[in-house]
Symmetry: C2
Subunit: 229 residues, 2 copies
Amino acid sequence: MAEVRRIPEATVARLPLYYRALLETSDQQVGTVSSERLAELAGVNAAKVRKDLSYLGSYGTRGVGYDVDFLLHQISRELGLTHDWPVVIVGVGNLGHALANYRGFGARGFRIVALVDADPGKIGQRVGELEVEALDDLPRIVGDREIAIGIVATPAAAAQEVADRLVDAGITSILNFAPTVVAVPPGVSLRKVDLATELQILSFYQQRKVPAADGNGRAAAASPRARVR
Amino acid sequence: MAEVRRIPEATVARLPLYYRALLETSDQQVGTVSSERLAELAGVNAAKVRKDLSYLGSYGTRGVGYDVDFLLHQISRELGLTHDWPVVIVGVGNLGHALANYRGFGARGFRIVALVDADPGKIGQRVGELEVEALDDLPRIVGDREIAIGIVATPAAAAQEVADRLVDAGITSILNFAPTVVAVPPGVSLRKVDLATELQILSFYQQRKVPAADGNGRAAAASPRARVR
DNA sequence: CCCACTTTGAGAAATCGTGCACAAGCGCGG
DNA sequence: CCGCGCTTGTGCACGATTTCTCAAAGTGGG
């Protein structure tokens, strides 16, 4: 078998965008899309779309475009969305609760199959279809249900400890919502979603828009500058 | 006055990490930190820390390190955290609700001052200290309370429309939680937080860890590869 | 006061990502 | 069967980011 194609990280991060754009396109009975159109839907430029897709293989047809369903299938396969991934959420506070009920995991492919919390008071509590289980049972839960992906939705102080336990239990991909840096051993993937950080980044650019605001705000019409990616 | 220092986007995205690390350090009565130590806390490498901080100015002391409180102040100022930013959340569903109650906006600097929803059934409903208001009142709300930052927590289908209304109302920074691409005019900053995308990225790397799993899972021990940033 | 040691700040090289430009390939009409 | 128009795939130049490296600058001990 051929060696595994190396796909740049930046490209991987955009594949989900294309995936979503294609899903919408597919719903509309359109047979093919051009890189131009796909770029518009995904909010990037056409050259980037073509380059990104070329890493997956030559799936387009010159003069025509990409077959929507075929490309959709290829990207699905590449992203590992052809089968379901069971997911465990640790931390059933405000955020964990919202995540558990969140229908918008958009494309399927992910299914929350366990909710875990350290607080004995929460164990047994029902959330939707699930019942909150004990943190100490993680190894059994992860093992029995063949869970590979864990979501950390605890307070910052508990995040590292929880991540460690997830890894010990056999989890190899972690999505961290706690506002803190978490370290994981090699071989374990980690991504983070951090509200405070995002707001602070916005704040940085926002601040630069108002040239001389000293305390009150809205000194002048926003200068048309600074675009955040 | 000197021209505005240009700070690379990648650096801006890391400033919040340093900020948080410094906050923790400051709590511990430590007077100075080295780039080495700061790097450890922020989960990056020391050279990067020094380069990043050097964009802000020469705030360190050779042979000693950085004065924690002084650096903290400089970064605060740079990020615009020296004053409060009022924030409006649009969409009071599961997610909006959780965000409204979320205490973990970590460092202060941001205060949710308005909740808005399009559903007449939700208007008037209380969430914490706030009362849900009508989407149509956005211009007044944003104007009166001098809000510059808006959070979109609606379903994907409504996101673009809501973003447009936010912009019309005078918002110039948007944080989008809806799983869809949103376009904004120049001069408006936009960042997104996308659960589905993050999970799909994890899935991509996760998939590559299990060499020959065809349907069942756990074919072998995870190969120690693929690190996601 | 000088020396050894530590740590920053920044030049320079290496790597990564982006966008342009265009040749190559494909479908369609004549 | 040929030529035209359209769109992909990709080489290449450029810009951004990361990493390496080391001189400069400060501290503390003798």
